[in-house]
Every structure is written in C-alpha cells, then in structure tokens.
C-alpha cells in the first residue's frame, strides 16, 4: 500500500480523534471555573455540587484529550520527517512554547484542583481551575499559531533549503490567528454549552433533580448562545480572510468552477467526475459576493481559473483539493452551526420566560443536539486541512514531499501503527462514551464517590 496515503490516513485518524475531546476541554474548563466562581461568591452548596458534577465529566474528557495529544507532539517526526526538517525552524518553536507555557500549567494545576478540594484555601483552589482553563485555551492558541503558519506562512525566509524563522513577532501575530483562534475558542464554548444543555434537558425531561438541572440549563443556554452566535460572526470574517489568502479553498467549499462577479452561493451543486465543471446546481445569486466582501458584487475566483493561475505561478500540477469532500464538509459545518444558534436561542428564550420545562420537544431534541458541535468541529477541520491540498504549507511545500522517506519508515510500519492506533482509539471511544453516559445520568444528590482522591 501507498505509504503517503497511509501516513495521511493516520494523521486524519489521530488528529480528528484528538479533536473530539479538545473543544469540550476548552469550553467546559471555563464553564466549570465559572460555576466554581459562583460557588465561591455565593457559598451556595448547589453550585459546589454543579462544579463537582460537571467537573467529573470534564475530567473523563480531559484525560482522553491529554493522552491523544501526546501522539500529536511526536507524529510529525515519525510520519512527516521531511516536513519536520523543512519547517522545524519555525514550526517547532510554537510547539515547544505550547508545552512550556500551557501543558505544564494545565497538567500541574489540574492535579492541584482535583486533589486540592479539602487541602487548599478556597481562593487558591478556585485559582487552580482558572489556571487550567486559561492554560487549555493558551495551548490551543499556540498550536493554532503553528497551524496558521501552514495556512498562511509569515515571518520566515527560505534559506538552507528550508523555511527559517526571521520574525518571531510576525509568526506570533499571523493574520490568520485572529480569525482562527476565536473561531476555535467559541466552538469550544458552544460544544460545552450544548453538552451541558443536552444532559440537563435529559434530566429535566425525567424530572430528576429539576432544581439542580434548571440552574445548569440556565447557565448553559446563555453560554451556548454566546458561543454559537460568535462562531458564526467570526466564521464570516474567517471566510473573508480565506477568499484573500486561500481562494482555492473557498472555491472548493462553494464548488465554484467558473469565476463570477457577482458570485452566487451554492445551495446544491453536483459536479462531474473530472472535477472541472458542475452538472447541476441551485445557486442563490450574489450571496457569495456578499459573504466575501459584504456587498452584492465582487469577483470570486473559480476553481478552473485558480488552477490555471497556480500552474503559471508554481509550475505544472493539480492544485485542486478534493472538491466534494470540502463542499459537503463546509455545508455540514455551516448547517450544524446555524442549527445550534437557533436551538441555543430557543433555549435562552425559554429560560427568560421561566418556562424551560414547558417545551418537551426542546428537551427531547437537546440531548441529541450534543452531536451537532462534534459534527461541526470535525467537518470544519476537514475543510480547513483538506482544503489546503496539495499544500502542507501553503505555497511552500506539497504534502507528497513531506512524508518520511520509505528507507526510514516503510509502508508496512505505518500500516501496523495505523491499525494499532485505530483499534485502541476505537476501544477507548466505547469506554469513554460508556463512562460519560453513565456519570451524566447519576443524580448529583446521589453521588457517593469521594472528591479529591483517586
């Protein structure tokens, strides 16, 4: 089997899997910190119970995020050694900084928080969970800075056959990070909001401890609304940024084969197998121009024109990413995003009407809606990473040239580890879902396990 294909598949499996856990960690760490802050301020035992209940689910998820993150730190060298040699000078730095600034802080203070319940002054203990929340999101910032370099290389010079850093400040303020980090940050908020909404709705529907879950629902409805609305607002800026920096990704996401001015937005496009033209399309006139430039006119480049331009700029080759995958990923992400914003607003409306338990339909829907952020998070990353193809670093290095040489890492080796990771990840997913379901269903008043000890 083709080593390159296997290496790509392995990166997809390990990274998509890792990102099942990351957004919930990002958002829920902050939410738990907020709950504990309310407890600290009010002294109300209900909020302590809320901190412990949601904290318990947070810990299960956090453990999975940590262990699957270890693989991320090493697999660039394992499967992508040529990539590591080419970008190490500029890509290694944010990774090392992430470990030094964020991983230490997050891991150390998570231990302090979990084991410190009865050992630390309340104020110090509260600071510990806030440090975990800040560090988790700080870690996201640095890894996204590394990813931003792949999307939009800045602060480098090509020297000694590789990309060398010549401006750390430019790297750390990559224009891409201003749209990418907030998008991921608020995705985390949304994921955590829907997680708490869904579980609270499940309990409210069964009238199990409604006093507790009504409060959690209230907080989560507001949290999810802020998250979902902000994700859309920033997603809009991100799309505009993408039209400027990676027009091919936008064109693929829209299956826009021919350049248009004004450009229409695709509701449904079926392309032919050649990848050069559409067979059938329903398009809304000028809407894509509106998305791209905030006005009903403006030229958006199509796939065929971009392909021709890239051949002129970078030499012969196919510069089109896998269009159907990106087209449908984009639609799944945006569709899930708007659905979440709608559901969150309905939930918030009912909270403000003091009538959460009035809509049994919403309470039935919300547990299933926990899946929506996961769909959006995954398809969003598929679009971001696949849409850059054939580049691993946009304009600088192609994916084909990035993989470890076969003399060092054979296709068989990659296949072995691919199977190994897939089997273990699959088994752990079953265990994790089992534990989350089981512990999400326990009434917080019936909890017997001691806090602060393994």
């Amino acid at each position: 089997m083709d080593a390159l294909f296997l290496a790509r598949l392995q990166f997809a499996v390990t990274t998509v899997y890792h990102f099942f856990f990351v957004p919930l960690t990002l958002g829920l760490s902050i939410l738990v910190a907020i709950l504990q802050t309310i407890y600290y301020r009010t002294g109300d035992q209900l909020w302590k119970k809320a901190t412990l209940f949601w904290g318990k689910l947070f810990l299960i998820n956090f453990a999975m995020g940590v262990v699957t993150g270890i693989v991320q730190e090493f697999q660039f060298g394992m499967n992508w050694s040529e990539y590591s040699r080419f970008v190490g000078d500029i890509f290694g730095a944010p990774l090392a900084i992430e470990a030094l600034l964020a991983f230490y802080l997050e891991s150390t203070f998570l231990g302090v928080w979990f084991f410190g319940w009865n050992k630390l002054p309340k104020r110090v203990h509260l600071a510990a969970i806030w440090l975990v929340a800040v560090a988790s999101n700080l870690s996201a910032l640095w890894i996204l800075l590394a990813n931003s370099f792949m999307q939009q290389p800045v602060g480098y010079v090509l020297r000694n056959g590789r990309a060398e850093m010549n401006d750390f400040f430019a790297l750390a303020t990559n224009p891409n990070i201003w749209v990418q980090f907030p998008h991921v940050f608020f995705s985390g908020i949304t994921t955590a909001g829907f997680f708490v909404l869904g579980i609270s709705a499940w309990h409210l529907l069964r009238k199990s401890n409604p006093e507790f879950f009504r409060r959690s629902f209230q907080v989560a409805a507001l949290y999810a609304t802020i998250g979902a609305v902000m994700v859309i607002v920033i997603g809009h800026s991100q799309a505009q940024h993408m039209v400027q920096t990676q027009p091919m990704k936008m064109a693929a996401a829209e299956a826009l084969y021919q350049s248009q001015d004004p450009a229409s937005f695709s509701l449904l496009t079926i392309g032919d197998l050649s990848g050069h033209q559409e067979v059938f399309a329903i398009r809304l006139p000028a809407l894509l121009s509106l998305l791209a430039y905030n006005q009903f006119s403006g030229r958006v480049e199509g796939i065929n024109d971009l392909q021709a331009a890239y051949v002129k700029q970078y030499g012969a080759g196919d510069y089109r990413p896998p269009i159907p995958l990106i087209y449908w990923s984009f639609r799944a992400m945006v569709g899930a995003g708007f659905l979440m914003a709608f559901l969150a607003l309905v939930a918030l409306y009912l909270v403000m009407k003091h009538n959460v338990e009035g809509s049994r339909l919403l309470l039935r829907v919300l547990p299933w809606a926990i899946l929506l952020p996961y769909l959006a998070n995954t398809t969003g990353w598929l679009m971001t990473e696949l849409g850059r193809a054939p580049w691993i670093v946009f304009g600088l290095m192609k994916i084909d040239n990035a993989v470890s040489p076969a003399s060092a890492v054979s296709g068989v080796s990659i296949l072995i580890t691919l199977i190994l990771f897939t089997v273990i990840y699959g088994a752990l997913m079953i265990v994790t879902v089992y534990l989350l379901r089981r512990y999400a269903r326990i009434d917080p008043d019936q909890e017997t396990a001691p806090a602060g000890v393994y």
Binding site: I60, F62, A63, M64, V67, I70, V71, E73, F74, F76, G77, M78, S81, S84, G88, D89, G92, A93, L95, A96, A99, L100, L101, F103, Y104, S107, T108, F109, L110, G111, V112, F114, F115, G116, W117, N118, R159, R162, E164, M165, N166, S404, P405, S407, A408, S413, I416, T417, L420, F421, I424, L428, V431, R438, Y439, A449, P450, G452, V453, Y454
Partner: protein
C-alpha cells in the same frame, strides 16, 4: 558557550527532569500489582503519584518540543528511526494515562484489574524502551548522508541496547520503591523498603554491566577518558550508597541518591554524545551534531529567551505542588 551548546544542555536537563520525576511514577506503576495486595492498597499506591504524574509527563513532551524547535533534524531522524518503538511507548502512555482516571469509575474487580494491568504495562514498557532508545543513541545507528535512518526495527533490539533498557527499567523501579517508602505508611512502607533493598543489587550489577558493555559497544571511554570525571563517579557512588540509607531508615536520602543516579546517568549519556546528537555507524561524518542538526541562530535566540523565562516558573509551581501534597498517603486518606 554558543546557543547550540546551551540547547544541548537544556535538553539534557529536560530529560534528567523527566526521568527523575516520571522515573518514580513508572516505578510505582510497575510495583502496583506486586505491592498492592488489595484494592485499597493499590489505591494508596496510585494516590501517591496522583497529583503529580500528569505534570511529570509534560517533561517528556517539552523535551520532544525542545528537540523539534532547537534541533529539527534530530527530531526528524530520531522519531522516524525509532518509529515502532515510539509507537509502542505512545500506546503505553495512552493506556496508562486514561487508566488513572478510568479505574476508579467502576468498582467491579475485572474493570479495576484491567486498568491496573494497563498502569503496569503502560509504566513497564516506556521504562524499558527509553533505556533501549538511549542505548542505541550511544551505540550509533545506520544514518545515511541525507540524515535518514536506513536500518529496521529489529536492529534496535541489540544486546547492548537491551542491557541499557533493563538497567533503566530496574533503576526506575528502585527509584519508585524508595519513593513509596517515603510516601506510604506502616506495613506498605515496610514492604516498599523491602522491595527497594532487594532491587538494589540487581541495579548495581546492571549499572556496572552497562558500563562494561559501553567499553565495547560505544566510544564512551575515548570520549570521557580513563578517569571519566566527577559526574559518572558521583552517579556510581550514589547508587552504591542507597542500600545503606535504606537499611538505616533514611528514606529521604535514599531517594535523593536514586535521583542522583538517574540524573548522572542521563548526564553521562549526553556527555558521551556531545557534540553529536545521533551517531552514524556508517560514517562519522554523517552523524547529526548540535551544529548540522540545529535551528537557525535566530530561532535558538528566541527559544532561549522563552526557556530562560518559563523554565524557572515551571520549577517553582511544580515544586509548590510537591509541597502542598507532601503528606504520606494512607488508607484513611482514601475517603478524603
């Protein structure tokens, strides 16, 4: 001293910290099925490293990140060369990491046994394989002119590397046993001390066997000379003294000494390697060094500022957590 040397030292420090701290974590994990007679005892053992193990593991991630940032060719060559071994370590660390969280989530014996087994294997495998990896670094690997490894997985399993692997495994287990004698009480602490004194002689024999084998398999003696200097001698003396401290109930000092042995072992390895980071067995000119494998001076400068600011801060707050959770763990503390 140029920045390449500084970063070589810093990476040696990160690995020293990693093996010192995660060394006793692994040791506790390896001893878990032998010392923990019932579930409560096994919980006591796990709780002795509960607040620390995750933070300790970050030393490895930081060492990996630092190698990537400062010596990208070292990162690329080493991790692709140790491909399958590293994958095994990763799988072990994954199972071990979730085991600490998952084992307490269900009281059924089968469930707990499974995760205890994961902690055992997940500690044993890395403790062994890291030693194998460092043995191979010292011995040299077939690395071609374009800095790529051209051997296979089984080449890594040579007698010398297996010997250094077993030495590392026994040393970390000893370190863990001494740690447990410090962090537990009563009967359990006595048994931990008993295990430590039984592991001492094998550790000493393995150390001297590894030193002897290094004479044949590596250029350690050409590099360090007949009088190897203060570092290896202190390491050997520290390990020899451990048994005296254990017998006389100075567990704190015994722990310091196993720690010194670990740190000096890592330092000796790095002193032998210097200025090489990966030795080519095909042609000395093809070895990776701190110069031909490094990042640009600009990147090293940036990273130096970052490290000089943040490493001391990390040391301070990690040190503080050891102070906060300094008490011994007993069965009474399990109800919290």
């Amino acid at each position: 001293m140029d920045l390449n040397v500084l970063w070589f030292i810093l990476i040696a420090v990160l690995f020293s910290g990693f093996f010192f701290l995660e060394g006793f974590d692994y040791g506790v994990g390896i001893l878990l099925p032998f010392l923990g007679k019932d579930d409560d005892e096994r919980r006591v053992l796990i709780n002795t490293i509960g607040p620390f193990w995750d933070g300790n593991e970050v030393w490895l991630l930081t060492a990996g990140g630092a190698i990537f940032a400062a010596f990208p060719h070292w990162y690329a060559t080493m991790f692709s060369a140790f491909y399958l071994a590293l994958a095994l370590i990763l799988v072990a660390l994954i199972l071990r990491g979730v085991a600490f969280e998952f084992r307490r989530k269900d009281e059924r014996a089968g469930w707990r046994n499974f995760w205890d087994g994961s902690i055992f294997i997940g500690s044993l495998l890395p403790a062994l394989l890291f030693g194998v990896a460092f043995g191979n670094l010292l011995r040299g690997l077939p690395i071609d002119a374009s800095k790529n490894y051209v051997g296979d997985f089984f080449l890594l399993l040579n007698p010398y590397a297996l010997l250094t692997g077993v030495y590392g495994l026994v040393l970390m287990t000893l370190h863990g046993a001494v740690y447990l004698s410090l962090k537990t009480e009563g009967d359990l602490a006595d048994r931990a001390r008993g295990v430590a004194s039984r592991l001492w002689l094998p550790a000493v024999i393995l150390l001297f066997a590894a030193l002897g084998a290094s004479y044949i398999a590596t250029d350690m003696y050409t590099k360090l000379g007949v009088d190897p200097g203060v570092v290896p001698i202190v390491g050997g003396a520290a390990l020899l003294s451990v048994i005296w401290f254990i017998r006389n109930h100075h567990e704190g000092w015994a722990f310091v000494m196993t720690g010194v042995t670990i740190v000096t072992t890592v330092m000796t390895i790095f002193m032998t390697l210097f200025p090489r980071v990966m030795i080519s067995s095909l042609n000395p000119d093809w070895s990776l060094t701190i110069y031909n494998a490094s990042s640009s001076p600009y990147t090293l400068t940036v990273m130096t500022f970052v490290a000089l600011i943040f490493v001391p801060i990390v040391l301070l707050y990690q040190g503080w957590t050891y102070y906060v959770f300094r008490q011994r763990v007993s069965k009474d503390s399990l109800v919290a």
